[in-house]
């Protein structure tokens, strides 16, 4: 039934053997030692502080949307670091391996990475940054903020929420494992067909890529179902649609995109899987397969996915800018309409990723026009933000600085995107670094929004503000790095440099590539400042304690509870009267959070089942990657069994008694000063 494999295989270990461990590659051995040191330090710290039971009880088994969100963000940060390390390797290689006389190290003819190795590096960089860094960070922030903004005590399905996280974590684990056991795909993060078919990529790399991608897609789809149901069904009384905070609108729009498009990604990957495991002919060249079908299905997901990433970023900007302009958001309704217009148009533009497929001119023209249409709602948003700032009392605190940076990057990325929308242009620079520079502007604007959002909402979740001094150093070095890396990249794009080069043939490009390396140095320094920022903030956490509304000018429901937010979010569900409810209450002098008598609150009980299912899925995919059939069959059977057994559980809820609530409510001080003001 299964397709015949080249090379050794046995029933017990599948394709796994000692040769799969890359102990001869000093870079990977170094990475491994680094990972071991970090892991030992982490395990040691847990053992030393006897934090194991606490971690298990409070974090790993939690179904609390805030804690799951925090874990999503931590996962995203770890993977962001990994993705950055990959970027550093690519830039270093391209700065060294220029021209025929460039030196070679570590077995590479030029530079220090062999073509096979750098192929894995850029594949991992792309996949990690899109799927395992940006997505978890955004999903994490939505997970934390949306239930608070709509006045709910948790998500619609807390258990499913935990499951979605653990599936994503398992997928990220697979990508990390591929560093040390086997290898990773080496044909680019979105896959090349028929290159990714078994005859041309017989190793396990493509399988790692495919299953990690697939697993994370399942996790994200579950998450999107959860957020949509939460927004539709769990809003506080009085919160009509047009009173919803704009970030919640953005989350709804973005999750509708995820809900509709991720299934198509699953299909595009599953059909590749059928080709690789069963020898079908979906994407083969010949035998009635069609390799462009893969590109078609992949980008049916892929382009909506881009807006899946950017809409929450827009939502974050729409929250930060009014707060720090001390004004209500300009053009709320148009903002909502624009979010949904972007989401809708995203479903009709996917061919612009392969204009060069040789489709009919009418087809290319159609997709050119739809792509340009995206500019209209985006332009509406840009003007709305600018008009929000206009005549406002703008305070350039850290969240606002990030939001403004995001606005600038959006302009650069958006304008270059318009240039890419012309099919004729695309014939010139398809697969060139101009396109790469364009979409890095877009993802960096997402990153900037995320950093702004973290600065903005951090005090709400943890009860203290991040310090500002190192944070500003971090910010400015990120700006420097971005300018020094991507301005030369745009220029290189115009001069015709293609992406994913392991060796750069033209020495004329060397100066630009070295300038980009300087930019990477700025990024590294920024990273140091980032850690300083974190360290100083944690050190001064008592000094920086804040009350319910640390920025003083926030406008929405999430600021109507204590900082840090108690497990039950709101002792009483707020009744909503206005669009910016918290601002409305402050204006009307009813902004007190004090309540006297309390009631029992029903909350879901923590459970270890999602962790278990995540672990089993990890093993299932590991078995499939190495073709250890018994392992996959056993873990699949266990997954089914665990789901069925869990469905028989009766005690899935617990009660937080009125007394406990009164204790928590009595202990907080909402009137603490807002540290950064005054």
């Amino acid at each position: 039934m299964f397709v015949h494999l080249q090379g050794p295989w046995n029933p017990v270990w599948g394709r796994l053997s000692l040769q799969a461990i890359p102990y001869h590659n000093p870079i990977l051995v170094g990475t491994f030692l680094f990972a071991v040191v970090i892991a030992l330090a982490a395990v040691g710290a847990v053992l030393y502080f006897r934090a194991g039971p606490y971690l298990w009880r409070e974090w790993l088994t939690t179904v609390d949307h805030k804690k799951i969100g925090v874990m999503y963000c931590l996962l995203g940060l770890v993977m962001l670091f990994r993705g950055f390390a990959d970027a550093l390797m690519i830039r270093t290689q391209q700065a060294i391996a220029v021209g025929p006389h460039s030196p070679g190290y570590l077995g590479a003819l030029h530079g220090y990475l062999t073509p096979f190795h750098i192929g894995q590096v850029y594949t991992a960089h792309g996949l990690i940054m899109v799927v395992f860094a940006a997505t978890p960070l955004l999903v994490g922030i939505m997970n934390i903020i949306v239930p608070l903004q709509i006045g709910a005590r948790d998500m619609a399905y807390p258990y499913l929420n935990a499951l979605g996280f653990w599936l994503t974590a398992a997928a990220a684990g697979l990508v990390m494992l591929s560093l040390f056991v086997g290898n990773f795909a080496h044909g680019g993060w979105y896959g090349f067909l028929p290159y990714f078919e078994l005859p041309y990529s017989p190793g396990v790399g493509v399988d790692y890529w495919m299953w990690a991608f697939q697993l994370s897609a399942v996790g994200t789809t579950l998450g999107s179902i959860n957020l949509i149901a939460t927004i539709v069904k769990m809003r506080a009384p009085g919160m009509t649609w047009m009173r919803m905070p704009i970030f919640t609108w953005a989350s709804l729009s973005t999750n509708l995109i995820a809900l509709t498009s991720f299934p198509v990604l699953m299909v595009s990957l599953a059909l590749l899987g059928l080709d690789r495991y069963f020898g079908t002919h979906f994407y083969t060249a010949g035998n009635g397969g069609n390799l462009m079908l893969y590109n078609d299905l992949f980008w049916v997901w892929g382009h909506p996915e881009v807006y899946f990433l950017i809409l929450p970023a827009f939502g974050m900007m729409s929250e930060i800018i009014p707060t720090f302009s001390e004004k209500t958001l300009f053009g709320y309704t148009t903002m909502v309409v624009a979010s949904f217009a972007i989401g809708g148009v995203s479903w009709g533009v996917w061919l612009h990723h392969f204009f060069t497929m040789a489709a009919e001119p009418s087809v290319n023209s159609f997709y050119s026009v739809t792509t340009m249409l995206v500019g209209i709602p985006t332009g509406v948003k840009v003007f709305n933000w600018i008009f929000t700032m206009y005549r406002g009392r703008v305070r350039f605190e850290l969240p606002m600085m990030w939001a403004v940076l995001a606005l600038f990057l959006l302009l650069v990325g958006g304008m270059s995107g318009m240039m890419n929308a012309f099919a004729a242009n695309d014939y010139m620079w398809h697969n060139g670094v101009f396109v790469v520079a364009h979409f890095h502007m877009m993802v960096l604007l997402i990153a900037a929004s995320i950093f702004g959002a973290v600065e903005y909402w951090f005090p709400k979740i943890f009860g203290f503000k991040l310090e500002q001094r190192w944070g500003k150093w971090f910010f400015w070095f990120m700006v420097l790095g971005t300018a020094w890396v991507f301005v030369p990249m745009f220029i290189l794009g115009f001069t015709g440099m293609t992406r994913r080069l392991d060796y750069v043939p033209y020495t004329q490009w060397a100066p630009y590539l070295r300038v980009m390396l300087v930019g990477m140095a700025f990024y590294v320094i920024a990273l140091v400042f980032f850690f300083a920022h974190l360290y100083v903030s944690l050190r001064d956490r008592v000094k920086n304690r804040v009350g319910a509304d640390p920025w003083g000018t926030s406008r929405n429901l999430e600021w109507m509870t204590h900082s840090p937010v108690p497990a039950y979010n709101f002792a009483y569900i707020p009744h909503v009267h206005a669009r910016d409810e918290w601002a409305w209450r402050k204006e009307n002098g009813v902004a007190s959070l004090a309540n006297e008598s309390f009631e029992d609150i029903h909350m879901p009980r923590n459970t270890g089942v999602p962790v278990l299912l995540g672990a089993l899925s990890f093993v299932l995919c590991f078995g499939l990657i190495w073709r250890i059939w018994w392992l996959s069959a056993a873990s699949l059977a266990l997954v089914v069994l665990v789901i069925i057994v869990r469905s028989f559980a009766r005690n899935t809820d617990e009660v937080i008694t009125a007394k406990t609530v009164a204790g928590v409510e009595g202990a907080v001080d909402d009137a603490l000063p807002s540290a950064a003001r005054g």
Binding site: Y332, I573, E587, I644
Partner: protein
């Protein structure tokens, strides 16, 4: 400055906090809505399969007329259609019994639906076996790959539904009609009835229109 409202505040009569847990989220409705969203993602999976079907059908000519005739066995598919529709009707009967709170009625309806579902599965797998025996397999070419994938993916849903029915029979026996059991029975209805809708597409656009491909 202005938050968006014209409401003048009446400090005495304005309700700021919802005491008495009056928020009262409808758990059952929330559960079925989430499951319905899942069902639609599954429909999107089928839609992607059909998009692939449309693309790969251009190469259907790689198969001889006799192979295509063997695959697109309209009479057999029609018998499968009747079995599946009857199963859906039986589960509908179980839903009517649920409305009346009749445990035995739900059990009978579910068991009949389960048996008819298994009959459907038996017919599909018999059909597959016949084709595989003639050397007509998904590995032959791209067109057959997508045809078999569509049919087998639908059959996998029937297997999942059958297991789910067994689980629900057990849970109903243990707990009666608790809120958990009821919402799962309704989700199962959504799931099971959705299979009939998908089958219409497979029957008409694959089995019947396969004649003119």
């Amino acid at each position: 400055m202005s938050s968006t409202t014209d409401t003048r505040i009446q400090p005495g009569s304005t309700v700021l906090w919802d005491k008495g847990d009056a928020a009262g989220h409808d758990i059952l409705g929330t559960r079925t809505f989430g499951f319905w969203l899942y069902m639609l993602t599954d429909a999107m999976v089928y839609a992607a399969f059909f998009a692939a079907f449309g693309v790969l059908a251009h190469n259907a000519g790689l198969n001889s007329k006799s192979v295509l005739a063997a695959v697109f066995n309209a009479q057999g598919a029609y018998r499968e259609t009747i079995a599946l529709f009857a199963s859906v009707l039986a589960y509908g009967y179980a839903m009517v019994a649920l409305k009346k709170g009749s445990r035995s009625g739900v059990a009978v309806g579910t068991v009949v639906a389960l048996v008819l579902g298994l009959v459907f599965l038996g017919m599909v797998s018999g059909d597959m076996e016949r084709l595989f025996g003639q050397g007509i397999v998904p590995q032959s070419n791209g067109f057959l790959s997508i045809v078999f994938t569509l049919i087998i993916y639908h059959a996998l849903h029937i297997i999942v539904g059958a297991i789910w029915m067994l689980v629900m029979l057990a849970q109903m026996g243990r707990d009666g009609f608790t809120s958990n059991v009821v919402y799962r029975l309704i989700n199962l209805r959504i799931f099971w009835h959705f299979q009939a809708v998908i089958w219409v597409f497979i029957f008409v656009f694959v089995y019947l229109q396969g004649k003119v491909i």
